[in-house]
Symmetry: C2
Subunit: 500 residues, 2 copies
C-alpha cells in the first residue's frame, strides 16, 4: 500500500477496494496483537520514559503535521502505538481492577465503533437504547428490586456513576436545589468510609457540597465501615444543625476489597431518612455469583447502586451503570427538555429517548459489548468467571500467608480478589520493627514495581494506606489468569526483591 | 462455526484458531456494513417502533438469558444489530452535528478497543497520554494561546466539557468552594445566550448554582448574543448583590449555527473580571480553516474553550476537548490525590499522570482515532473538509432561498453549515399568515420527518425555537456528502410534503 493516501479511501469514487484492503491490514495488526496478548512469552509492556517516546522511537513520531502521511505510514503508526503500549489483556497484567481482553467484548466494541452512533435518542440508536433498557432491568432484578423496577443509565465510569447518586439523593431531598442552587438547602453532609473510592470526595467538591461536608467513617481492620461510627456521626451532625443526606456504602473497596455491612448501614439510613448508595463499582460483579453474592446482602435496600461491568465482569472499558430504585428521579434531576433533540411530536414513543436523564448530551454506546458478552456467556458464564477469580485469589492468599518474607496487610481470607501484602526482602527480615524498617519497607514495592515494568514481565499495583507503608495489592479479574500466573508473580517479586 | 461456543475462544487452550476465525467473520460483517454505508442505494435506516423490536424480529431477540448462545448466533446478533440501526455515516444522514464514517477514525477506534486501556496514568497508557498532550497543545496553538501553553483534557462529550469550564471558573474565583461548598461564595450568576446549548443550564443545576442563577442573554435575529444585553445584565446582577462569575459565548450554536461576537463579549468580561468560556463544541472545527476561522475572532481571549472533534471534524464518537488557558487550574480544581493510583514514588515523571485533573477516575481513550486522523489528513486535510462542508451549505442556501415553497428562518448566508428553513406545502401557501397557518405549519416538519424515517431514505433534524414553529435544521459535517445528496434531500422533502 506504499504511498497510498487517505483520499483513495471511501467516500472516494472507487474507494471500496482500497478501503477494504486498508481495513484488513489494520485487522491483521490487531489480530496479531490479540494473539500475542495471550502468549505468555510476550512481554506485558516495553517500558519507555515519556521523554524517550517524545523524542521519537525509530520511525515513530508523535508530532502532528500540516501535511498528510501515507496509509503505509499510518499502518506503521498503528503497529508502533501497540508496541509501546501496555497489554492490559495479558495473563500477567494485574495492575488494575479492569484487565483481560474478552474476545466477544472486543468484537462488540468493533461493531460499536462501526455503528458510530449516540445514545441520546431512540431515533438514531434504536437497538442500543432498547438493549440498555433491558440490561439495566436485568441488573435491577439481580440487585433484588421487585420486578426489576426502577431506573438507571450507563455513564462514563464509576466516578460519574457515583456522582449521579449524590445528585439524585440531593434532588430527592431538596428538589429546589436544581433551580435555586445549594443556597436553597441547609448545610448538607455526606458520609463515606475512609477506605471508599475518592470519587465520592470528588462529587462533594464538584456538586457544591464541599469536601469538608463529606464525613469520613472509621473502618475495622479489614476496611469495613463500623456502623456505630456512622450512627454517632449522623447524630453529631444533626446536633450541629447539619442535614445528613447521603451515605455511601462500598461493596468491594479499591484497595482491600472490603464490603461494608449494607444491612446495618441501611437500618441507620432508614432510621434517619438518609439516601443509601452502594458503590459496587468493583464488587457489584459478585451479585452474579450464588456463592459470593451474600457479601452484598442488603443491597436491595439501597436507593442507588453503582456497578461497573468493565471491572469484575471483564467487559471492555468503559461500561459503568448507575441504578436507581425510584423511577423518575434521574429524569427529574437532570431534564432540561432541549427542543432540538427531544421533540415531543415524534412518530414513536418518546419515552424511549433517554438522553434527558443524563448529565451528558451525546453519550457513547457502552451497552453493546456488554449485551453481546451476556448473550455469549449467559448469566451462568459470568458466575463461573467470578467464582474462578475468587478461587485464584484464595490460592494466592494461602500460598503466601505463611510464606517466608511475606506479611499480610490484614488477616483472614480476602472478601474480594484483593490480596494485600508486603514482600520483605531478606535484608529487612531481621531488622527490629520501627521507623527504619518502615522507611526501608516503604521503598520496596515501588522498587520492585519499577523493575517489573522495566523487565516487562508483569505488573501489579502498590500503595500506602493510612499509616501503612507501601504494600502490593494483587487483584484478579482477567479470565486468562491461571495458578501458574500467580506463581509467576510471586517468583518474580522474589527474584527482583531478594537483593533489595 | 455452527454450535461453537465462546469457551473455545482465547484464552482457551488452542483457542487461537477459533478466535481468529470468529474475529474475521465479525470483520466481514463490519466491512460489508461499511461498504453499504457509502452506497446510496442502501437505506439510511430500516425503521421499527420500540414495541416491534422488543417483541423480537425474526431471530433477533434482545432478551438476556442464563444460558450461553452459540458463536453462530452471536454473529447473527451482530448482523441484526446493524440491520435495525441507523447508518450515521450514510451520505444522506443529516440528522445530527456528528455524522460520517471516517475510515481512518474507524481503524483508530478498532485499535483503541483492542488496546483496551485507561487514560488515568502514563503507567498503563504511555502512548495515548503523550498523544493527548501533544494534540491538546496543537489545539491550543490553533486557538492562539502563546506557544500553545495552557491545559486541557478530553472528556465524555461537549456537555461535560462545558461543565468543566464552569467548575474551573468557580475554582479560579472561589477556590474555597471545593472544600467549603457553595455556601462559601456569594450568590454566583452565570450568563449564556437563549440560543446556547442546554448543557450550560445542566451544569448550573449539577454544580449547585441553580438554573435560576443562569441568566439568559438576548440574541439578534441570527441567534448571536447582543453584547449590550450582557453588559446591562451584568450591571443589573451586581446591583442586586449577585456575583457574575462566568459568561459562555457560543461559537456555532446548535440550531442556527450562530457565532457570538467573542471580542465584544471578551471586552465586557475583562471589564468586570468574569471568566469567559467559548463553547465551540460545534464551531471549533472552523478554527482549522483559514477562510472561516475569523468567525471565532477573539477566541484567544477566552479563559476556556470547548471543542468537539467528533462534530465538525468528522472524528468518530466520542471526542471532545476542554481547553483551559491558565495552567494548573484543572488540577487544582479536581485533584484528590488518590494514593493507590497516583503514587508519587513511581520511576517515571509522574506529571504525566493526568488522571487527577479529571472528574472521572477511569477515562476512555478518545485521543487515538483523532491523532491518527490528523496524521493521515494533516492539518490541511481538516481545512479542506471544513471548507467543503461550508460550500455545500452555501449551495443549499442558494438553492432554496428563493425557491417556491421555502422560507428561511433567518436571512443571510449561514455562518456555519446550519441552514434553517420551513418547507410550506402547496395547501398552506395561500393561507393568510396567522394562527391557523402557524399551527398547520408546525406539524409539517414532524410529518415529513416521520415519513422520511419510514421510507428510510434520509434523515434531517427539525425543532421549534422560541416562538418559531417547527422548522428543518439542515447541517453538513459528513465528508461523503455531495451536491447530489443536497438535491436529493430537497426532492425528498417535496415528494413527501407536497400533499400535506
Amino acid at each position: 500500500m506504499k504511498e497510498t493516501v487517505r483520499t483513495n479511501l471511501l467516500p472516494a469514487k472507487n474507494g471500496e477496494e482500497y478501503t477494504m484492503q486498508f481495513l484488513l491490514e489494520v485487522v491483521d495488526i490487531l489480530t496479531n496483537y490479540v494473539r500475542k496478548t495471550f502468549d505468555r512469552s510476550t512481554k506485558v509492556l516495553d517500558f519507555h520514559h515519556p521523554h524517550q517516546l517524545l523524542e521519537g522511537m525509530e520511525g515513530f513520531n508523535l508530532e502532528l503535521c500540516d501535511q498528510p502521511e501515507s496509509l503505509e505510514q499510518i499502518l506503521v503508526d498503528c503497529r508502533d502505538t501497540l508496541k509501546y503500549g501496555v497489554r492490559t489483556g495479558h495473563p500477567r497484567f494485574f495492575n488494575q481492577l479492569s484487565s483481560g481482553l474478552d474476545i466477544i467484548g472486543l468484537a462488540g466494541e468493533w461493531l460499536t465503533s462501526t455503528a458510530n452512533t449516540n445514545m441520546f435518542t431512540y431515533e438514531i440508536a434504536p437497538v442500543f437504547v432498547l438493549m440498555e433498557q433491558l440490561t439495566l432491568k436485568k441488573m435491577r432484578e439481580i440487585i433484588g428490586w421487585p420486578n426489576g423496577e426502577g431506573d438507571g443509565i450507563f455513564s462514563p465510569g464509576g466516578a460519574i456513576s457515583n456522582m449521579y447518586s449524590v445528585m439524585v439523593a440531593r434532588y430527592k431531598h431538596y428538589p429546589e436545589v436544581k433551580i435555586k442552587g445549594m443556597a436553597a438547602a441547609p448545610r448538607l453532609v455526606l458520609f463515606t468510609s475512609e477506605h471508599s473510592h475518592y470519587s465520592i470526595k470528588k462529587a462533594s467538591a464538584v456538586l457544591g457540597f464541599g469536601t469538608e461536608n463529606l464525613i469520613l467513617l472509621k473502618t475495622d481492620e479489614r476496611g469495613r465501615v463500623i456502623p456505630a461510627d456512622l450512627e454517632a456521626k449522623v447524630i453529631d451532625a444533626k446536633q450541629k444543625g447539619f442535614m445528613p443526606v447521603f451515605v455511601n456504602a462500598t461493596a468491594g473497596s479499591t484497595v482491600y476489597g472490603a464490603f461494608d455491612p449494607i444491612n446495618e448501614i441501611a437500618d441507620i439510613c432508614e432510621k434517619y431518612n438518609i439516601w443509601l448508595h452502594v458503590d459496587g463499582a468493583w464488587g457489584g460483579g459478585l451479585l452474579m455469583s450464588r456463592k459470593h453474592r451474600h457479601k452484598l446482602n442488603g443491597v436491595e435496600r439501597a436507593n442507588s447502586v453503582t456497578w461497573n461491568p468493565h471491572k469484575m465482569m471483564g467487559v471492555p472499558l468503559q461500561c459503568s451503570a448507575i441504578l436507581v430504585r425510584e423511577k423518575g428521579l434521574l429524569q427529574g434531576c437532570n431534564s432540561m427538555c432541549a427542543g432540538y433533540l427531544f421533540q415531543p411530536d415524534k412518530q414513536y414513543d418518546v419515552t424511549y429517548d433517554t438522553g434527558d436523564k443524563a448529565i451528558q448530551c451525546g453519550r457513547h454506546v457502552d451497552i453493546f459489548k456488554f449485551w453481546l458478552m451476556w448473550k455469549s456467556k449467559g448469566t451462568i458464564g459470568f458466575e463461573k468467571h467470578i467464582d474462578r477469580c475468587l478461587e485464584l485469589s484464595e490460592y494466592l492468599y494461602h500460598k503466601i500467608k505463611n510464606r517466608e518474607g511475606y506479611e499480610m496487610v490484614f488477616q483472614g481470607e480476602p472478601q474480594h480478589t484483593n490480596v494485600c501484602f508486603w514482600y520483605i526482602p531478606p535484608s529487612l527480615r531481621l531488622l527490629p520493627d520501627g521507623e527504619e524498617k518502615r522507611q526501608r519497607l516503604h521503598k520496596v514495592a515501588p522498587k520492585i514495581k519499577a523493575m517489573m515494568m522495566e523487565c516487562g514481565t508483569t505488573m501489579v499495583g502498590y500503595q500506602p494506606q493510612g499509616d501503612k507503608v507501601n504494600f502490593f495489592r494483587m487483584v484478579v479479574s482477567n479470565p486468562a489468569v491461571t495458578r501458574s500466573d500467580i506463581d509467576f508473580l510471586i517468583d518474580e517479586i522474589e527474584r527482583l526483591g531478594q537483593d533489595l
